[in-house]
């Protein structure tokens, strides 16, 4: 297929036949991710949506190198991933800023580890703190920040390493609805300025369609790719697009696909109970 050829041409991240099974304490195992294939192109924003517990976070942790797959492989820029590294920055759902470091100290953390001179680290930190709109809070400790500000700092911290790909695990999941919208706008603008390759996991369909170039819908556990939907909304995007007919069209498409899976989860639970 020509489409396939094109995909491999610009492929940044490839997940091939990825399976992750966890050993149960009482023996046996649970398959969280089942022979999953997925590709992310250079400078592409890809969202993974799926019902809760479908293994999408597990998949992201495998890409980050934090969880070992049972089989299959993750290839970034042609090199197989074998452990965590600075080339894959990650933003978590929980607040993971280091509380003993200021915003600046947090954002500098990665550059300092890679041994850049201190002045350069500070300059890098300043750039990304500005980018996420936290100027003036460089010397604040995380406990002095709101949830949205903490996540902005976490994004800056991940970007300061200039990773090949940014992995985001429901980064706005813990925020209130208003803040979440603001953060989505911020992320869109950050993406316009950096064109960073992003793999973003969420269960929020609207969020996925708003942000992504492509949306992968995952099946209920064990997680597989159920559908791939190309979101051909024009960029640069703003939240204004939320009201457009095209947006609603894509949203409906993703929604339908995921609804079937959610119903399956529900049915399975009722059977079990």
């Amino acid at each position: 297929m020509t489409d396939d050829a094109l995909m491999n041409d610009t492929a940044k991240l490839i997940l091939r036949d990825l399976t992750v099974a966890f050993q149960r304490r009482r023996g046996g195992s649970v398959v969280a991710v089942d022979s999953l294939d997925l590709t992310v192109h250079d400078e592409e924003f890809v969202c993974i949506v799926g019902p809760s517990g479908c293994g999408k976070s597990t998949m992201l942790r495998v890409v980050a190198g934090l969880t070992r797959p049972s089989s299959g492989e993750v290839v970034l820029d042609g090199i197989q991933v074998s452990g965590p590294g600075a080339d894959r920055g990650m933003v978590f759902q929980s607040y993971t800023l280091f509380p003993w470091l200021t915003v600046e100290g947090n954002v500098e953390f990665g550059p300092r580890l890679s041994g850049h001179p201190p002045e350069l680290c500070t300059r890098i930190a300043k750039r990304y703190i500005d980018l996420v709109g936290l100027s003036g809070f460089e010397h604040s400790y995380p406990k002095e920040l709101s949830g949205g500000m903490m996540q902005r700092a976490a994004i800056a911290r991940a970007l300061a390493n200039d990773p090949e790909i940014l992995l985001m695990d429901e980064p706005f999941g813990a925020l209130d609805a208003q803040t979440r919208t603001l953060m989505q706008e911020l992320l869109l603008s950050v993406w316009e300025q950096t064109h960073k390759t992003v793999l973003f996991v969420t269960h929020d369909i609207e969020e996925a369609v708003l942000l992504a170039d492509r949306v992968y819908v995952m099946t209920a556990r064990p997680g597989r790719i159920k559908r791939e939907i190309k979101v051909s909304l024009p960029r640069p995007r703003t939240v204004g697009v939320l009201d457009s007919e095209e947006f609603l069209h894509f949203r409906r498409e993703v929604h339908q696909s995921i609804r079937e899976e959610s119903l399956k989860v529900l049915a399975a639970r009722e059977d079990g109970g």
Partner: protein
């Protein structure tokens, strides 16, 4: 925070409008006794003064009122007089210094050994497997039960008392610190890995700082326990120290001196507590606990 205050302010007047007008004391008490709600500085201070005043009043009444004979309860002035006398002889300072040096030495040795071990135990399952059974067993042995053995091994000098403090605090502290480090969020460690940190860096730059507030709290708590063990050790076999002062005063029925000993212990403990709280504030300004 502001939201909560706002809520509290808008919520409170409503029920008050329905009830009969109450006396100021009743409504002040009502305000002071709302669960988990902050009280004004004035209310807080009046509580502190109230409890101190009640104790002082009961003491004054029982002693000066002649209700309890001075052999059992010396009057405040007797205690002050005894304190001045002991201070003038220089023995109060000698005893206090002896106790302090033992307690600080024993406790510091325990801290130096227990904090790293506790952090490793809470972080590495294998170290937990190595350490936990032993620690769990030993920590149920009362230190006082080990004093005879320690006297047999080390004698009755300072070393024996330092050993008592060490044993008394070390095993407890290992478990407390292990708990603190086990509760460090795994996401914090994972973030460090994804920022390019290796295992050693994660230990030194993430785990250790993350445990500091909890460790600091436990240092304060175990210092309190150390005082208990010290006095026990000094009561059993000693020739100086505040515990010895108390025991020696009892032999001569100097109840006022016993009270001096107790007050000094209490004041030193309070002093340490304040120092630890201040250190926490100064050294860990980022700590969520302040």
């Amino acid at each position: 925070m502001p939201d909560r205050n706002l809520q509290a302010n808008t919520r409170r007047p409503a029920p008050r409008a329905q009830t009969r007008p109450r006396s100021r004391i009743v409504s002040a008490l009502d305000d002071a006794l709302r669960p988990h709600e902050p009280v004004s500085r004035r209310t807080y201070l009046s509580g502190v003064i109230l409890s101190t005043a009640v104790i002082a009043f009961v003491w004054i009444l029982l002693s000066y009122g002649g209700i309890v004979p001075p052999l059992f309860l010396p009057s405040p002035s007797d205690v002050v007089r005894a304190a001045v006398a002991l201070f003038r002889e220089g023995s109060l300072l000698i005893h206090a210094r002896a106790s302090l040096s033992v307690i600080v030495t024993g406790w510091a040795l325990a801290v130096v050994a227990a904090v790293p071990l506790g952090i490793l135990m809470g972080t590495l399952k294998f170290v937990e497997a190595l350490v936990e059974p032993v620690v769990d067993f030993v920590r149920y042995l009362p230190v006082s039960a080990m004093i005879p053995l320690l006297i047999l091994y080390i004698g009755i000098g300072t070393a024996e008392k330092v050993a008592v403090i060490f044993i008394g605090t070390f095993f407890q502290l290992v478990l407390l610190v292990a708990d603190v480090s086990a509760n460090v969020s795994k996401d914090l460690l994972d973030s460090a890995y994804t920022l390019g940190a290796k295992r050693g860096t994660v230990f030194s730059r993430v785990l250790v700082p993350a445990t500091l507030p909890g460790v600091m709290d436990n240092l304060r708590i175990t210092m309190g326990w150390a005082w208990t063990y010290l006095i026990v050790a000094e009561l059993v076999a000693s020739d100086r120290g505040l515990g010895y002062l108390i025991l020696d005063s009892m032999r001569g029925l100097y109840t006022d001196r016993i009270f001096v000993g107790l007050f000094v212990i209490g004041l030193l403990g309070l002093g340490f507590d304040i120092i630890f709280k201040q250190l926490h504030r100064i050294l860990l300004p980022w700590s969520p606990k302040i």
